[in-house]
């Protein structure tokens, strides 16, 4: 859908729809192929363990970044601008992790004719570990 959400329809404290993927080598290899990101720690368990990650190979931070953008655009629709995204990579994406991107509206801002919404975002794994705290700013259409 082109535009899913209007500025007047959201409130501070609202949670937006989440975006979930269970990741393994199928996802990482596809991402490596498009982003030219063939690094042994993302491909080979032995290399992952040598890098002090006992379970073995682990996922790319860039893929979690993509998932966060996917969450935001699925929420707002094709024709709405994501203006800003920021993250810190805090925990590793292990093989077969179920990653859930989440977002909560923290602020509504009207400035220079824009209707902006600020969110706290994160990527939570199946154990409830917050792997990727961050924030986003999205410009929503207004009914006004």
């Amino acid at each position: 859908m082109a535009e899913n959400v209007y500025f007047e329809d959201v409130n501070v404290g609202d949670d937006i729809p989440s975006f979930t993927r269970q990741t393994d080598l199928m996802h990482w290899n596809r991402y490596a192929a498009v982003n030219d990101e063939f690094v042994y720690i993302h491909m080979d368990d032995e290399a992952g363990r040598a890098a002090a990650n006992e379970p073995g190979a682990f996922g790319m931070g860039n893929l979690r970044w993509a998932y966060l953008l996917n969450m935001l655009r699925e929420w707002v629709g094709d024709e709405v601008d994501v203006r800003e995204l920021g993250v810190q990579f805090r925990a590793i994406n292990q093989k077969n992790d179920v990653l859930t991107c989440v977002g909560t509206i923290t602020e509504k801002i009207e400035e220079n004719g824009d209707h902006l919404v600020r969110l706290d975002t994160n990527v939570i794994n199946q154990d409830g570990v917050a792997t990727c705290p961050g924030h986003a700013v999205v410009a929503l259409p207004s009914r006004g």
Partner: protein, 161 residues
């Protein structure tokens, strides 16, 4: 025992602050690369039509297919860059971590675009934390399209301790 350093700021950092690198240009963005990118980051589900269906995309305000905002037109460079090796047994000020990144997005990338990128070390700060003396350095990387429009500005935070 050697004295612990009192600062991790190097002369190279002082010399390079706010000095922008020469622009590097991507090859023209290809529709097929956009589609493959979208398939990869939405796998195993079908990506949104805005990334692959020209007829649908024409009906949107963009008037055509756009790339996902995380699309990297600089992937697969030729000649190949040298592999980076992390120092072994790194000492104080040689250990590094990725401190995160913030992107500010401008216009979307589209098929046929040629994207330029340029970067500069723009700021840093130091403090003594749980890892000892630690420096956080901020590098800005700006991408523009062939019309000089901002595609994105990324601030990357490098952590060295």
């Amino acid at each position: 025992m050697a004295d612990e350093p009192t600062t991790l700021v190097t002369q190279e950092m002082l010399d390079s602050r706010d000095v922008w690198s020469e622009k590097v240009y991507s090859r023209p963005v290809e529709l097929n690369d956009i589609i493959k990118w979208a398939i990869a980051v939405y796998w195993p589900e079908e990506p949104p039509r805005i990334y692959w269906d020209e007829e649908y995309a024409k009906t949107t305000r963009y008037g055509g297919i756009i790339a996902p905002q995380d699309f990297n037109p600089f992937a697969w460079p030729v000649p190949r860059p040298p592999a980076r090796e992390l120092p072994k047994d790194a000492g104080v000020g040689e250990r590094v971590m990725n401190g995160g990144q913030t992107d500010t997005f401008g216009v979307p990338m589209r098929p046929g675009d040629v994207i330029s990128q340029s970067s500069a070390l723009v700021d840093w700060n130091e403090r003594v934390g749980r890892l000892g003396l630690t420096i956080f350095s901020y590098t800005e990387n700006r991408w523009e399209n062939q019309n000089g429009e901002l595609v994105k500005s990324r601030i990357s935070v490098g952590v060295r301790y």
